[in-house]
Symmetry: D2
Subunit: 120 residues, 4 copies
C-alpha cells in the first residue's frame, strides 16, 4: 500500500510526526479488508489494539511516497500479531509489531471466519 506524505503529516521539523506511522499502518490493515471487498468492521466485530512495539529508524519527509508492508505473524482464536513496516524505496523507516484483539460488544470474541479469510 502506497502512502504519500502530505502537509498534515509533517511537524515543525519537516519530518513525519511520530504517531502518523501508526495511522499509516492502520490504513494498511483496513485496506487488507477493503481490497478484498470486505470491511474490518463486520456484524459488531472489529479489532482493537492491545500492544505496540515500534522502532523508528529514519524520518520520512513531505512529498515522499512510502510503502506499508504488513504480514500476520501469529494468529490465536481471539488475537492477531502482525509485523508492519513503512519503507521508502526499499529502506525501512519504521517497523512495529502490533497485537490486536477481536472485540464484539466490548468483549474479546473469537475471530469470525469473515476476518480469518483475510488474515490467513
Amino acid at each position: 500500500m502506497k502512502i504519500r506524505v502530505y502537509y498534515e503529516d509533517v511537524d515543525i521539523g519537516g519530518v513525519v510526526y511520530h504517531a502518523k506511522y501508526l495511522h499509516y499502518c492502520e490504513r494498511a490493515r483496513s485496506e487488507l479488508f477493503f481490497s478484498r471487498g470486505k470491511s474490518p468492521v463486520w456484524e459488531g466485530y472489529h479489532f482493537v489494539v492491545s500492544r505496540i512495539d515500534a522502532r523508528y529508524h529514519a524520518p520520512a519527509r513531505f512529498g515522499e511516497l512510502l510503502e506499508v508492508k504488513s504480514s500476520v505473524k501469529k494468529l490465536t482464536p481471539v488475537r492477531v500479531v502482525m509485523d508492519q513496516r513503512v519503507e521508502r524505496e526499499g529502506e525501512t523507516l519504521f517497523e512495529m509489531e502490533i497485537e490486536l484483539v477481536c472485540i464484539k460488544e466490548n468483549r474479546p470474541a473469537k475471530i469470525p471466519d469473515y476476518f480469518l479469510e483475510v488474515l490467513r
Copy 2:
C-alpha cells in the same frame, strides 16, 4: 478556552495547519457543554456542520497559547449559527461563522431544551 499549539498541530512551515483551527473551534463548542456538566451528544441528538465561512488573518506557531472565543449569533428551532474566533494575546488569527444543524437518527431535529440551556 485556552489551547496550546503542539507538534501535531503545525505543518512544514512551522505554523498551524489550516484545518486545525476547525478542530480548535470544535473543542471549544464541545467544552461549552462539558463545562456545564453536559455533553454535546445527548439521547441521540447531536450537531453536524452545514456551513463554514472562515477567514485566516495571521498564523499561529508552535508553543503559543491561543484562546477560542465563541458566541451564538442566531438560533432557529433546528439550527445554530455561531461566531468563533481564535486569538493570540487579543489579536484575531482566525475567525469563522459556522452553521450547525441538530440531528437525531440522521435527520434534522428540533434542538432539545437540554442543548438550548447552553446555547441561549
Copy 3:
C-alpha cells in the same frame, strides 16, 4: 484523486469529522503538484489559506471511497481561488471555495512560473 475513509477520519457518529474534508482537499491540491513531478513547496515559495467558504451536503462514512475534484476559479499575481468538491459516486458531499496566497519569507509573493504551470 481518490480517498478512502479510514478509522482516523470518522468520529463518534460514524461519519467523517467535518475538518477532515479540508485535509482531503489539501491532499488533492498537493497532489496536483506531485502528479506533475513538482512540489507545492519550492524555493521558499508556498501557499497559505486566507479564506474558506464551505458547504456540507451529506456525510461520508467509514470505508467509502471518495473523489476530490479541484478547479482553479481565479488567478491573480499573488492569489488563487479554487473550487473543490468531495464526491461519492457522483454525489457531492462537500464543496468549498478556497482562497490561497502565495508566500515567501512570511510575506505575500508573486506566484512563480513553477507553480503557474500547474495552476493554469
Copy 4:
C-alpha cells in the same frame, strides 16, 4: 496534565483512536517544557522518537477527562527513556515506555543543559 477527549479523538467505535494516546503523551512531554517557560525546540536541538513499547488496557471515551503522567526512567548523554501513562480517575488506560534521541542538524547530539534542567 489533563486532557479532554473530543470528537476528533474518537473513532467509529466511540473510543479514542489508538494513535491518539501517542499524541496525548507528546503534548504532555512538550508541556513539561512549556510549564517551565521553556520550549522543547531550542537552538536547533529537539527530540525525535526512536522506540515506543505501548500497552493498551482499557478504552477512553468521548467527553472523558484523562490525565497523562510522565517520568524520566533513564537519561544518557544523548537519549532519554520515559514512562508515560494515560489515566482516567486513577485507572491506567494506556502506558508506554518511549525512547527519545536528542537531535541537532539531523544528527544525534548531546542533550543541552537547557533540556537537562527539565528532565532531571
